[in-house]
Every structure is written in structure tokens, then in C-alpha cells.
């Protein structure tokens, strides 16, 4: 049985702690919601294949600058430019690719789409509830929302 909370927590630890050296504490699974509000920055990807769904990761602008700085080897980020957005997209790519690899270990083959970035006030609405996982780190809170659905076969 696939536990989405465990998958997100494990991949989050791998990417944020294992690669970027952050101290990560994953908060308990939050009540699922079918709408998401973000006033900071987020990266969203679709998951397609034997299961389908969405992944959205949001955080504050300050947190993104810190995150991208770590990805760039400590280079101080004053302003988020095109290269920073490319790095943040790549962060989303790493995270969801890690989820895809975890799903493969459960015998579920999926692929992912190109990451999209949002900035400012955004509300996502969906028919299905998202699994909501918040990770606290020294660069701020990182919120991950994911929904995965079985693909109906005819």
C-alpha cells in the first residue's frame, strides 16, 4: 500500500538534507484540502503514467532565495533572475523525479512533465484532496501538496 506522506518525507529528506545539507523536520500529516493558497513562490509538476496527479511545492520568496543559493554553492541571491527560476524548476524536477523513483519501487511506472513556476497570490482548486506535508528547515517552511490517483482502465 502506497503511503504518500512517507514517500514525500523520504524524498524531501534525500533532496533537502542529503543533497542541500538542510536540517529537515517533517511535520505530521495535515488534513487534506482540495484547494491550495500560496502567497509566495511555488513549483508545480504533473505526474503521468500508471498513476496520475499533481505535485505543488510552495515557500516564501526568502526561502527560495536561500534554497537557490545553496543549489548554486552558496552564491548570495539578491534578486530572483532567470537562472534562479531555472534552478527552482530544477529543484521541483529533482523532488518529483525522486517521487517517481519511489513509485517505481512499488511497481508503479510514472513520468513527469515540465515544471511550472508561480509567484504571488495563487489559489489552486481540485476535485480531489491533496496530501499536505510541511517540512521545517532553517531556510523556512516548505509545503508539499500532492495528489495521486489510480488511472482508470477500460
Amino acid at each position: 500500500m502506497l503511503n504518500e506522506y512517507d514517500v514525500i518525507s523520504k524524498v524531501g529528506q534525500n533532496v533537502l538534507s542529503g543533497y542541500l545539507g538542510l536540517n529537515v523536520e517533517t511535520l505530521e500529516l495535515q488534513q487534506g484540502a482540495n484547494s491550495i493558497e500560496s502567497s509566495g513562490v511555488g513549483v508545480a509538476l504533473q505526474i503521468i503514467g500508471q498513476m496520475e496527479g499533481q505535485y505543488i511545492c510552495t515557500m516564501s520568496t526568502t526561502s527560495v532565495k536561500e534554497l537557490v543559493s545553496r543549489m548554486m554553492g552558496g552564491y548570495e541571491i539578491q534578486q530572483l533572475d532567470e537562472m534562479c527560476w531555472s534552478a527552482f524548476q530544477e529543484f521541483g524536477n529533482w523532488f518529483v523525479s525522486g517521487i517517481a523513483t519511489e513509485l517505481a519501487s512499488h511497481g508503479i511506472q510514472v513520468n513527469i512533465t515540465h515544471p511550472l513556476i508561480h509567484e504571488g497570490d495563487v489559489t489552486y482548486h481540485s476535485n480531489n484532496n491533496y496530501t499536505v506535508v510541511t517540512m521545517t528547515t532553517e531556510i523556512g517552511k516548505i509545503h508539499v501538496y500532492m495528489q495521486l490517483n489510480e488511472v482508470e482502465t477500460t
Binding site: V15, Y19, M71, M72, E82, M83, S86, A87, Q89, E90, N93, W94, S97, G98, A100, T101, A104, S105, Q109, N111, I112, H114
Partner: protein, 120 residues
């Protein structure tokens, strides 16, 4: 020192890989953002080795490796992808890649893969 072409749709990743390779004493002589561009750039710069992403627009990395193998059956390609599941690695190797580096990677992993392929 090798002359290397870097293929990745993410500008950040091309920059990161280029910095790693340059620090390792190699020269990046070509860059491409998708498989179609990779074939064109490969023909014009004829590199010793290629690093290739998989998920890209226009033509993905697996199809690009197959196309490049048609141009040069001895081509040396390292796949650099975040999609590290076994099926994807197998597809890449079957297409003709000689190594597979999973993103995010450490600098040494990339340089070691390049070093090994240059000995082949």
C-alpha cells in the same frame, strides 16, 4: 582533458555541469537545450563526450542518443537525469549511453564518470 557537449533543457543545469567539467580540466565546446538541437550542435562541434538529460522538449534524451549513435556508433554519452528508476536507466543504456548519473549529483560523481569513459 576532453572536449564535451552538455545537453539539458534547464539553463541552471547546463551552467552547473559546465562549471564542474571546467573545474575538472575539461572544455565544454557545445551546449544544447533539447534533442533536436543536440544533433545539430554535435555535427558542428564533434565532441569527445556528451552529457545528456532525458526529459526535454522537442526530442527527449533517449531518442537523441539513438540519433547520435546513427551519426557515430562509437559516441560516448553519459545520461544525467533525475529520473533514476531502473526502467529509465535500462532504456538509456539500451539506447547507447555508457553511464547514468542521477541528479542531484555530487561533482566527483560526474568527473569520475567522464574519467572512466575517456579510458574506454
Amino acid at each position: 582533458m576532453a572536449k564535451i557537449m552538455v545537453v539539458d533543457d534547464a539553463a541552471f543545469m547546463r551552467k552547473m555541469i559546465k562549471e564542474i567539467l571546467t573545474e575538472g580540466g575539461h572544455e565544454v565546446i557545445g551546449e544544447a537545450a533539447d534533442g533536436v538541437e543536440a544533433i545539430s550542435v554535435y555535427k558542428s562541434c564533434n565532441p569527445d563526450l556528451v552529457t545528456m538529460d532525458i526529459t526535454m522538449p522537442e526530442m527527449d534524451g533517449i531518442a537523441a542518443v539513438k540519433a547520435l549513435k546513427q551519426l557515430n556508433s562509437e559516441i560516448k554519452v553519459i545520461m544525467c537525469s533525475a529520473m533514476g528508476q531502473q526502467a529509465m536507466v535500462l532504456d538509456a543504456i539500451t539506447a547507447g549511453a555508457l553511464d547514468f548519473v542521477v541528479k542531484p549529483f555530487q561533482k566527483d560523481r560526474v568527473l569520475e564518470a567522464v574519467r572512466k569513459l575517456l579510458l574506454v
